[in-house]
């Protein structure tokens, strides 16, 4: 009789632990998709450090992204998809471009650019409903175009 009670107690504890853990994980996980119309619900949660300017043009396929955010904030990077009209969570070779900011208050990742316009969204959240978002756009130029300019310059200088 006593053993049955003990078993029930263990089962209840186990169930509680599973539910608690699951809630713990999902409570701070950022959504996979953000609407293009999404707006911030809070401020002073993120400062974009790199790229420094919106509307940057580059020939470099690999874009370093960095920002400053309060310690404990979850920073997630999204890339715009023209096909769906939404911002989708960015994934690198090592997983999602997402991290909880530590004592340095710094976050960094990198994104591979596609030719033409690339729109990004950074979301810094302290919980599900308190977050700030920052959007920026980077244009990847065709290297062939740049090469043509360089070869003309080469002809002039040599």
């Amino acid at each position: 009789m006593k053993l049955k009670k003990l078993n029930k107690l263990f089962a209840a504890l186990l169930l509680f632990a599973v539910v608690f853990t699951a809630f713990g994980v999902t409570a701070f996980a950022a959504p996979e998709v953000m609407s293009a119309e999404a707006v911030s619900t809070a401020y002073n949660l993120v400062t974009l450090k790199a790229p420094e300017t919106d509307g940057l043009s580059t020939t470099n396929k690999c874009l370093p992204i960095s920002c400053a955010a309060p310690e404990g904030a979850v920073v997630t990077v999204y890339k715009y998809s023209a096909a769906t009209g939404t911002y989708n969570k960015l994934y690198t070779s090592e997983g999602a471009a997402e991290a909880t900011v530590g004592a340095t208050m710094l976050f960094a990742t990198q994104a591979e650019l596609s030719l033409g316009s690339n729109k990004f969204l950074i979301r810094s959240a302290v919980d599900d409903s308190t977050y700030q978002i920052v959007k920026f756009e980077v244009t990847l130029l065709n290297e062939g175009f740049m090469d043509k300019i360089k070869s003309i310059a080469g002809m002039i200088f040599n």
Binding site: N60, T92, E94, T104, L106, Q110, G154
Partner: protein, 497 residues
Amino acid sequence: MKKAVKRWFKDVLLAVLVVSSLVMVYRIWFGRYLSSNWYDDSLLNVKKFVSTHFSWLSGGAKTFSENMKILLKPEKIVVNQSANRVEITANDARYENLRETSEDFLKNMLLGEAKILSKSSASQEEYFSALKGKSLFVCYGNKIDSRLVSMSISGESKGKITDDVSELKEVLILLNDNVLNNVNVYIADTKNDNVVKYSVEYNKARLDKAVSEIFEAKISGSVPSYSFELNFHKSPEGESAKVLFSPTILLQVVPEQTPCIYGGAIMDFSDEHGINNAVEDAVLRAFKMNPMTMRKFTDVSGSAVFVENYGTLVINPSGLVEFKAEQGSNGITLSENASAAAVDVYEATTLAVDFISNVCAVFPNAVINNLQINSDITSELGKSGSYTFKFDYFISGSPVFIQNSEGKAESAIELTLENGNLVYYRQHLKEYYTLDEATSGITAINAADKIVENTKEEELPVYIKRLSTCFLDNGDEKLSRLWVFELDQKSEPILVK
């Protein structure tokens, strides 16, 4: 006929007696009395004698510039092409080819064989922009006197750059993306932060090929970013940062697999009878200890202790060799030609490098081949006439620090010279090997988080002037890689796991 044979026999006997008496005299004066290992000892002594006095027989002993080439290597070479960037360290199979190619070009430049078309000062923006171009970025890690870099590359202490740059940490070779028929070289003088830009006339086909070959194979992992690309080198306007990174620090922003190594004392260094006689003899000779006049005893830890009037040498069976000059004594005179006042940083380094090469000559080549200078070598170092140099074993591109009995991380070699005299020397004689095994590590930013967590609010922002990796030999068989932070505020580096 019989008489002739008798005479021949007498001559041979006389010759043998003369030779054996010479050998005995040599052994008494320069070596030790016959021991159980007399054959090995004799062979080593003969080898040493031949290599010292008849160097032309063995193709010549290594010169200072050759020793310098071995001991002063770039910590890494960063190859950059468009969106691709990769750090190549000494353990990488591609390192030697890249080093040879870049040093060949620099040698031509230093010796004036490649014409310098122009020389100017470059702004920080131009330097940062050049770092992102098609280039080879040769990083020494420490601040080095430009004469020593010139010596290690070209064999000459005076080169085309030594009048413009007094000390440097990095040399950037920019290939100009084929726009102009020349190569630009940027060198930042760490003494005054001035970046000198040289435009050099040079057929860059070989340099171009070396860069292109690196990216022909698929590069795995993420592309490291310079701190200035992430704007981690400055505080945002009107805000204060908790941490700032030196602009040219490279940061991997995603976690990486890090290698493991293992190692221990050098094989045959000691056995159950104590320290190998041949090793002991060679070490004693390097420290100019005379077996006829020195006193020898074994202490409680099993270390052999040798006492001379000028200092004490301790050899521990674990591979630790330590020499301390007696108080009031000059120690071991290394500079016989130069007057004490003439021993500047260049002269002091030549003495240190030659001394270490001499000590290591008896050990397997791996010992000296893995050693690299791992401390700043600048004129600032010896303001009071005293120079301390640190050398480390570099395995898988990272130095191995050895944990001492007080738990402090030490370099493989620490050596102090005062006015050309050796007053302190400590070397951990160890060998390390790479393991075909890796562990997952944390990113540099996560490691920096730990530094900030342990820093008082009033000491912020933390300024990281150098960020590298190391292994810590704490006696464990397998060693994993740690982060090494050198901060402006702290004199000692901080290790983070």
